[in-house]
């Protein structure tokens, strides 16, 4: 007989262990799907998870994709920890890229050391402003932040589309939906010759350290965590709820904006329609998989970045659409959420005979 009991407190070892269970189950699930589709599951999984990172170029690509995921997820962890459901990071990323890209376009024919910092700053501010919309509507009009931040994703993508087709399109670009190339001074410095990995990774690492410091060593971090655990306690303690909501959204938006600016000044070098393969949404998975812990998020961003890379490799070698990466991303989150059940409930397998003897 199976008996399910509610746990009184969550065991911490299990809390950090279940993400690994989720990853293993996802790989098994992926193998089953490949088998059903008529592939050799072992070989397909090898193309997916091992081939992409078996050379230096692959490792660089892994870090390149993990960078925006890590940045955004770090920002989201502030929101999620304090029970604010910002799911519009994709929109904040896009708007940050628009503002940052706009500044980069101002300097398209100029060089100078001050340009890149300006572009990065503009991107962060852009993301921050865009995240303030759901935050202000939530604090002053009591509006649901999930729906507002989600709607704004599409507004920002349409705005980008308008800009690259219309006023910002490259005058010498034969009407392609893209802007001019940014000048070299607006581009992130590359770390190694011939690889695409760029200095943006330091922004992500700085965000990790800073968020660890804020969350675990400051009064603000304490407020955020308490509000997440119990709103009543937070109110009783006299925390200013409204200010905190604005602050966490601003942090989250700035991080997403930085991720956007990192993409356009890094591998892309201009603005066009496809600046992000839904990094803003996938980063939600990263934040959960990393347990909202700064160092967990580093690990999770690498795992999820691998699903993007694997999908590209599988597209080449197995001729399957690269959307398959999303199958894995969806499964990771499904299995992670499902395994959380073990955190809150104890599953006991009782021996029926012994029980009967006792009664």
């Amino acid at each position: 007989m199976i008996k399910i009991e509610k746990r009184n407190d969550v065991p911490m070892t299990l809390y950090f262990f279940t993400p690994f269970i989720a990853i293993i189950l996802t790989i098994l699930g992926g193998g089953i799907i490949f088998y059903i589709l008529g592939f050799n599951p072992i070989e397909a999984l090898k193309f997916y998870f091992i081939t992409p990172i078996s050379n230096l170029y692959g490792l660089s690509e892994l870090l390149l994709k993990a960078t925006p995921l890590c940045l955004i997820a770090i920002g989201l962890s502030f929101c999620f920890k304090s029970n604010n459901w910002n799911i519009g990071a994709e929109g904040q990323l896009t708007f940050g890229a628009i503002v940052g890209g706009g500044v980069a376009l101002l300097f398209y024919n100029q060089e100078g050391f001050y340009i890149l910092p300006l572009v990065i700053l503009a991107g962060a501010i852009g993301g921050m402003i865009f995240a303030l919309i759901p935050a202000i509507l939530k604090t002053y009009f009591n509006t649901n932040e999930i729906l507002v931040s989600l709607m704004l994703v599409y507004v920002s993508k349409l705005l980008l589309d308008y800009l690259v087709v219309g006023p910002w399109s490259n005058p010498e670009g034969f009407n392609f939906p893209e802007t001019r190339q940014f000048s070299n001074s607006s581009r992130m410095p590359l770390l190694f010759e011939g690889l695409r990995i760029h200095a943006g990774i330091f922004l992500a690492l700085a965000a990790v350290m800073l968020s660890w410091f804020i969350l675990y060593k400051t009064y603000l971090g304490f407020q955020i965590k308490v509000s997440g655990l119990s709103l009543k306690t937070a109110k009783y303690a006299g925390f200013k709820g409204k200010t905190m909501i604005l602050v966490v959204f601003m942090i989250s938006g700035a991080c997403a904006g930085l991720a956007g600016v990192g993409e356009i000044t890094g591998p892309i070098g201009q603005l066009h329609r496809m600046i992000s393969p839904d990094y803003g949404f996938t980063a939600i998975i990263v934040a959960f998989l990393g347990r909202l812990n700064p160092f967990g998020i580093i690990f999770a961003s690498l795992v999820v970045a691998l699903t993007y890379l694997g999908a590209e490799t599988a597209q080449i070698f197995l001729q399957i659409p690269k959307y398959t990466g999303q199958v894995f991303q969806g499964m990771i989150l499904f299995f992670l959420l499902a395994s959380d059940y073990l955190l809150f409930f104890k599953v006991k397998i009782l021996n029926l005979k012994k029980n009967e003897l006792r009664h």
Binding site: L137, L147, L150, V155, Y162, Y323, T324, G330, L337
Partner: protein, 310 residues
């Protein structure tokens, strides 16, 4: 371009056709949300419905099986969401997002061999009346049976929620699961049913796209309609009749864009495309400011996990 009366009739007819997937998906999601469950997986369920409907049509050459099959696959995929949120008590928002991401990926995987296959013509009803009656002909006649069903659905949904006992049960579960549970209602079962119903309607909405509206399979062909449907439920403040009106407005915006592009109108199309989202935000702000309006139709326990200690 002449704006004669028969052209307006055809225009209205095409607006109606473009609003069908929105009506179907939003009506389904409305029931789900009225039971207190926020399923953000609409887009994922629609795209799964689209590919399974199209694939079944190609394999069986039978449109009836394709339509029923698409609803069934919507049910299956929403069952994942139901099991996770209701039985394993996972967070609705995260699970719904995972469902959308998973659905888009899975549909592309399943649809790999169906890209580029031409669709089959879907039978339309009263096609002779469409031609013979000016203005009203293209509005009222010559549509597929799914369109007629879609336009009846908001009224049926309204009747169900307001006039039937089961509808009352759904509303009770959404507004106050604890009291409903104390009344002897099995909250989890009711919510399961509403989630699966929502899945079926989203599956049908997807199949409408791949079998009737643009009869073919294209990766990611729902193109954000699931998110618009989700916005629509909020825009309609959870009232089925307003879903119909909202779907016609949102569908009308889509059609308007095409015509404005054709005649070279000055307003950028992207601003028109953004209107449904902006209008939804404005409606949200208006209803959220006034707590009485919010109480009117908003399911009080929307998105909250219900757990009953056994």
């Amino acid at each position: 371009m002449s704006l004669d009366i028969s052209f307006i009739g055809i225009l209205i007819g095409s607006i109606m056709a473009s609003s069908v997937p929105l009506i179907l998906a939003a009506s389904g999601e409305l029931i789900t949300e009225r039971s207190g469950v926020l399923n953000l997986g609409v887009e994922g369920m629609m795209i799964i419905g689209a590919i399974s409907g199209f694939a079944l049509m190609v394999i069986t050459d039978n449109l009836f099986i394709a339509i029923v099959g698409s609803m069934f696959s919507g049910v299956i995929i929403s069952l994942i969401f139901g099991f996770l949120t209701q039985s394993l008590l996972t967070n609705h928002v995260a699970t719904g997002l995972a469902l959308t991401i998973f659905g888009i990926g899975l549909s592309a995987m399943l649809g790999k061999n169906f890209v580029g296959i031409p669709g089959k013509e879907f039978p339309i009803l009263f096609s002779s009346l469409r031609e013979s009656i000016p203005f009203f002909g293209p509005i009222l006649f010559g549509h597929s049976i799914v369109l007629y069903f879609a336009f009846a659905l908001p009224f049926l949904t309204n009747y169900f929620l307001k006039k039937t006992k089961l509808g009352l049960v759904v509303r009770a579960v959404g507004d106050s699961p604890v009291s409903a549970s104390n009344q002897g209602i099995n909250v989890i079962t009711v919510r399961y049913c509403c989630i699966l119903y929502g899945g079926a309607m989203c599956g049908l909405a997807g199949a409408y796209l791949s079998l009737i509206y643009t009869p073919q399979w294209i990766e990611n062909m729902t193109a954000g309609r699931g998110w618009i449907a989700l916005a629509l439920v909020v825009f309609a403040t959870w009232s089925p009749i307003k879903v119909l009106i909202g779907a016609l407005i949102f569908g009308g915006i889509t059609i308007l864009q095409l015509h404005m592009q054709a005649i070279g109108f000055r307003i950028p199309v992207q601003f028109l495309s953004a209107l449904p989202y902006l209008m939804t935000i404005i409606v949200l702000v208006v209803i959220s400011r006034d707590s009485r309006k919010i109480k009117l139709n908003t399911p009080t326990s929307l998105g909250r996990i219900f757990y009953k200690e056994k």
